[in-house]
Symmetry: none
Subunit: 211 residues, 4 copies
Amino acid sequence: MSAESEDLNAIVRGARAEFRERQIVDAAVRLMQEKGTHSVSMQAIARSGGVSVGLLYKYFSDKEQIVLAAITRVLEEFRLRVPSAIAEAAEPVDKVIAAFTEFCRIVGEQRHAVVLTYQVSRALSKDGLKSIQDQELETLQPLVDVVTAAVEAGDLRDVDAQVLGHDLMSIAHMWALKYWYFQRIGLDLETYIDRQVRTLVLSNLSEAARR
Amino acid sequence: MSAESEDLNAIVRGARAEFRERQIVDAAVRLMQEKGTHSVSMQAIARSGGVSVGLLYKYFSDKEQIVLAAITRVLEEFRLRVPSAIAEAAEPVDKVIAAFTEFCRIVGEQRHAVVLTYQVSRALSKDGLKSIQDQELETLQPLVDVVTAAVEAGDLRDVDAQVLGHDLMSIAHMWALKYWYFQRIGLDLETYIDRQVRTLVLSNLSEAARR
Amino acid sequence: MSAESEDLNAIVRGARAEFRERQIVDAAVRLMQEKGTHSVSMQAIARSGGVSVGLLYKYFSDKEQIVLAAITRVLEEFRLRVPSAIAEAAEPVDKVIAAFTEFCRIVGEQRHAVVLTYQVSRALSKDGLKSIQDQELETLQPLVDVVTAAVEAGDLRDVDAQVLGHDLMSIAHMWALKYWYFQRIGLDLETYIDRQVRTLVLSNLSEAARR
Amino acid sequence: MSAESEDLNAIVRGARAEFRERQIVDAAVRLMQEKGTHSVSMQAIARSGGVSVGLLYKYFSDKEQIVLAAITRVLEEFRLRVPSAIAEAAEPVDKVIAAFTEFCRIVGEQRHAVVLTYQVSRALSKDGLKSIQDQELETLQPLVDVVTAAVEAGDLRDVDAQVLGHDLMSIAHMWALKYWYFQRIGLDLETYIDRQVRTLVLSNLSEAARR
DNA sequence: AATGAATGAGAGTTCATTCAT
DNA sequence: TATGAATGAACTCTCATTCAT
């Protein structure tokens, strides 16, 4: 076998591996969105992904790795889209609002998956948990950054950016965690966003920015 | 057997039943706090409570009832203590602050148990879930009430009381849910409360109250 | 304590014991009639009999003894009533018919209990099984006897009395065992008896008796 | 993978599945014959069949399905062989005798299994019970048919075919149900068949056929 | 004599994981 | 590389039996 064809083989193998992993994680995310973490068995993932159970273990060492990959996939969305939304706004406070709004919308789209990240925690190993926390910090950072910037620009009162940033993320997550409540009181996502922007952001405008 | 001793027996039985139920629920709460709802088996609850599996089923019809009782136990604390704290404050805004502060402190004490309420949802039947949601609404109500009162008194801006009330509860819960984060950024509970009061409550004071 | 009062005590004790045993067996029979052998737990027997589980073990060494006593109680009926019915008939063949008819009627009354005797067999110990078989032979004997007598009187053809006697018992039992079938084809007990008398008894009349 | 080898795989899978199902049902029948339906646990079936508990559930959805399959297996024999035996006899009454004789011989071979069908009833769901009753009706039908034919041919007296047919089946079953009795009175199967033919069939010959 | 709380082995069932093909 | 049949430990729940009172 020639060196080139060996290289080619390696590439093909890599591509296949990537394809398979995606296929499996997709299936896992889909199932978890439908049913919650539990009742998502390896058998179910295999079936839903159109592969065999055996193959699952070729690409992931155990179930935890699949769950981890699934959550990572979900968090990816935040890492990609929130910074984009921020970039499109001009003024410091508008950036805060844009970041929160986009964050909320993603939560709205991934409702079940977000709930999931709150539910699996305990089922994970220490390392797995750490990995998810680190990723969550990454999704949080842009929110903290825009708040910091707005404070420094003098547009927001002198709040603790790490706290307000985290509050914004928390309140966004709550749309998923307490969806039943907002349903009961008849609040839709856009109204929710609007009210929260007033309560959390506009209320914290500086005297200067208020004018 | 005399009528008196029959009465006595009934009392003893009642007392024992109460003792046993407490014993079992205690064990369940303890384990769930350590390990999360799942991975807490009936065997484990029995062992941890120092009773036999069979006895578990004498006092609770199935596992769900134990989980429900454990959560109810936790929520009880909120139902009792938050209204007390409110009663002790005089001014409308002080009542809001007192309610939120007490809420946070209870969360601080029952940290693991609060996390639990967010994790079990999926493991419960529809009825069980409904029951917990109803109880949660009960713990939420005082917060909504004090906010409503403060708005009506003209001390808070015209915010949506159901939303701000729920935000206060959410942010209190987050102390437990994201304890790891606040540890990392070196925030203790009292500082957390203080910052959140500024960010969520004081920021929403009306122009009039601000003076 | 005087000798007389000791005697009296013994009598009272004996009477109480008898009363308790009857109470327990009654409860067992009642439950078995309603639900079949299984799902008749010791707890259920105790509840239904208005006594405690502990007392069950004071009067019976284990569950098998209660089942045995319950079956014995049911078979008692056959031992008492079939001979009576025979006594009231005059002619040999009429005695056969009377015996079979009464046998069928008792089966009709104790339908579930009869089915039970066919179902428990395997669950019993060797001794228990033997005991029930012996009792069943006792209920069979009168049927064999009247057939023998009718053959000897020349009213029935020269059939094997042990076989025809057993057939009569079997066919009577079948009313209970295949009740669903006779329901489906719309046969009531009296019609069933009538048809079977023709098929099994009258068909075997001797040439002499036929006239 | 080529289309042929896929086909081959499918065939292999099918063959294996059939083999496994047979293996499991065989084990179940064997155990049930020894011990009665209850007290036959899934663990025991697995052990006796040389497979794991988990595999049982790959091939049967629950225990009831195994019991049902076991009984179906037994009744199959009747559905196949009795009509064959009938076909080989020429005269109407001979067909009745041939049917009954073959029925009895099958009972003789499957003694324990026949007892089983009388014992499981209570352990089955409504649907399961119905299914077995339907199957039993299928085994009964040939007997009813030959009796009907013999009556219409004028060879048997005008008896109720549904009743006499059912009697024939019942008496055949009794060989299994009361085997202990026939052992005690020293009756072997062929003698039993002979006596019953006289008692149930020949006794019901019409005047015409008697000559 | 009588209670019933307590036990724990064993039932049916599920599912993460392995391995021969 | 890919399969899926096979495993068995662990799960929830039941119930005959015991024993302190």
